[in-house]
Amino acid sequence: MLVEINVNGEPRSADVPPETTLLKMLREDMGLTGAKLGCDVGDCGTCTVIVDGVSVNSCLMMAARANGSKVTTIEGLANANELHPLQEKFEEHGALQCGFCGPGMLISAKSLLDKNPEPTVFEVRDALAGNLCRCTGYTKIIEAVMDAGREMRSGQSGA
């Protein structure tokens, strides 16, 4: 079936079997491999993308259900000239190690800051609880999100 979505600001479409998940369509039909498959059942969060303003596990969402939606993946955070403040701060803090959780983690963090620009540490932890990380103990990730929030609030960055 034909699925049309707007992904990272671009209209895209794919003709996929009806049983295709959004994750599979993004990765295999649209070449957007940033979102990862880590568990395929919604436990690990590596597949997190934003659909119509809310973060979801794209491994649990059928592609057909996303038809007509606006989707943001990790590939949509930066532009050719600058990183998203979260990407900048993740890099600066050394927040990611193996990086496999990174795209999902950043999308969850973006989704949080979009709604709550001044989160507490607890709110950050709560917002990232659906994104498992085995490398970092989450410490530097949380520091980076707090720091990115500060930077975005101070308006030093265009994003």
Binding site: C39, C133, I142
Partner: protein, 336 residues
Amino acid sequence: MKKRGRGMACMWYPIGFTVAANPSAATVKVNTDGSATLLTGTVETGQGALTVLGQIAAETLGLATDDVHVVSGDTDVTPMDTGAIASRTTYVTGNAIVRAAEKAREILFEAAAPLLKVKPDQLEARDKRIQVLGFPSSSIPIGQAVQHSESVLGNPAIGSASYNPPTVEMDPETGQGKPFNTYVYATQIADVEVDDETGEVEILKIVAVHDCGTPINPMLVEGQIQGGISMGVGFALQEEILFEEGRQINPNLTNYIMPTSLDMPELEVGLVDNYDPTGPFGAKGAGEPTAVPTAAAIMNAIHDAVGVRITALPATAERVLGAIIEKQEAERVASH
């Protein structure tokens, strides 16, 4: 009621394989513009090994981290390496890189010496220049030395070397010997709260102070420690593969419980000031030891809080409550 407790644990941990040879080889090439390429057979598995190895090559050549490009992980291209295992990369591969970079640097000293009118052994590589020891004003850019060596002397600045930590076989009867060349040390202290009605353990804070010799990149060492602690927290309180007739019954991330961001406490990390003369610039390693003392510290904190000794991991809430009830029963019996 919630009861507070604190517990500590310290540990020691070796770098490299137990007696068995675990060599690494490396090749360092310096380019005519003063940048460099490092070839290593190890693989980046997330620790930041390639960044650390690049820093070691850069340091030996007097360059900045960004001047060195690291090529890794291709058996057609990169030299032998025992791999990302046994907390050995910084120490063993790092030592190989120092030796390889020194060989390349030697070529540069040979080329620069006549230009600076000194002997090669009077030179050092520093701040991206080859300079006379103690006379920084008497110097040439590294790129110029490479250029001269390569296109005038016909001697490209390239060095290859390997390193294997020296060990002594262990006696088969007594185990006496020197199985490793060096060890690291650490202490972690946990602050916990135990709910004595449910057995739930909440870790409030962990302080971790580790020895890794010289931290080549303190930020990455901190990352290793923080990550190791999260693995230790899971080992201590949550994680267990369960079996029924030889079949795993929780082989998924729904039922195999590992720490989420809400399960991790505040962490405070410190590094002791130490220098191991056998390591690259005094460095040893940091990967595995970070996960070693966490569970013990937490168990000691639980003991401090509610007076029970947990003897089997993980200390699930059910197990902790069971121990608390057992203790209360024993105390009741004793008081009669």
